[in-house]
Structure formats: C-alpha cells, structure tokens
Amino acid sequence: SQQGEEDPQALSIQEGENATMNCSYKTSINNLQWYRQNSGRGLVHLILIRSNEREKHSGRLRVTLDTSKKSSSLLITASRAADTASYFCGRDDMRFGAGTRLTVKP
C-alpha cells in the first residue's frame, strides 16, 4: 500500500510559473525524500529533508516539512519545459506515494 500521498495527481502550468505539489504521510518519519521520474525512466533523487528541518532549498527547488500535519511540499520555481515529469515523495522506509504528474507547457 502507498505510504505517502501526493496531490494534486496532475498539474499543468506554463513555462515560467511556479509549481507546488504536496505530500502527506501516515506515520512518523526520520526524513522524507523527493524524486522525479521522466517518462520511461527510473526515479532520480532530488532532495532530502530531515524531520527536524522545516525548509530546504536546492537550486529552483524548495521543500518544506510540517511534521505536525504529516505533510511536505515541493515548490519548483520558474518552471521549464524540461521539468515535465512525475514527482514522488518517499518515506525513510523507501515507500512512495502515487505521485504528481507535472506538465510544463512551453
């Protein structure tokens, strides 16, 4: 069963806009990781946030974590067509949610 749930399931935006996707989980975590998956490929690690962190940045990525709400969000700023992919959050037991499918239109 899925241990994390992302929403929205699908998101379509224009190039240059920001994209925000959310992840909720059910049990306590030590950390949470975000991954992206291009069509026909494996997942690629993007960023990790620890349970004692509230926010983390990496380039155009910003991840927040609210352990009281058991939720995390991934913000991609100034999106590009190349950001088109599926994005997943994974708990530290390496189980994933259903993902958000992001489409960035040129």
């Binding site: 990781q33 494996g42 997942l43 690690h45 189980r95 994933f96 993902g99």
Partner: protein
C-alpha cells in the same frame, strides 16, 4: 560511476509462462530494492535486500514471485507463472546504507513486462 543496470528493457510473454528480471546495482551498494510500478502509479516496494539477506519482503506475492541476491551483488526477480495483472514496470534500485536511512536510492530504468 556506472548506474543501476537492469535487463531486459522490455519483455512480452504469454500468461502462465515464467519470466525473470536481472539487476546489477551500483558497485559497493549493499542495499537493493525491487519495485513494481503500474501505469500512472508510484513504485510499490516488493522486496529489500541488505547484502544477501531479504529484510523486507512483506509485499512480495510469494505464491508466484521469488527473488534472490546471491553473493550480495546482482539480483534476479522471477514470476512463475505470470498473470495478466503482472503487466507493469519492474524497477530495481540500490543505495549505500553507510549513509543510513538518508542514503538516496539510485534507480535503473526498469523492465517493462507485458503479459498477453
């Protein structure tokens, strides 16, 4: 470094036939994972190995699925007999557990199985 290698890339079989997938993890990675991914869904963990020991196989349908990781390096996932519902992408991943639970997973590009 070379990435996680999976083969074959695609496999088409008739139902009730056996099928096997192979995975070679990144050198030195002692943790290996097999996932099943249905279209439009996230990866579902089937089994996790620490070296040659299967430490989490609670989601592996043991009546038809089996896996092995002899010598703690490469691994094989087998289905016998295959059913129509097994059509999916089978992903392998590895990580260096020296970093503990913070070690990122490195994925192969998967084997796409079609059962007809």
């Amino acid at each position: 470094e070379a990435g996680v290698v999976q083969s074959p890339r695609y496999k088409i079989i008739e139902k009730k036939q056996p099928v096997a997938f192979w995975c070679n993890p990144i050198s030195g990675h002692n943790t290996l994972y097999w996932y099943l991914q249905n279209l439009g869904q996230g990866p579902e963990l089937l089994i996790r190995y620490e070296n040659e020991e299967a430490v989490d196989d609670s989601q592996l349908p043991k009546d038809r699925f089996s896996a092995e990781r002899l010598k703690g390096v490469d691994s094989t996932l087998k289905i016998q007999p295959a059913e129509l519902g097994d059509s999916a992408v089978y992903l392998c991943a590895s990580s260096d557990r020296a970093g503990g639970r913070e070690s990122p997973l490195h994925f192969g590009n998967g084997t796409r199985l079609t059962v007809t």
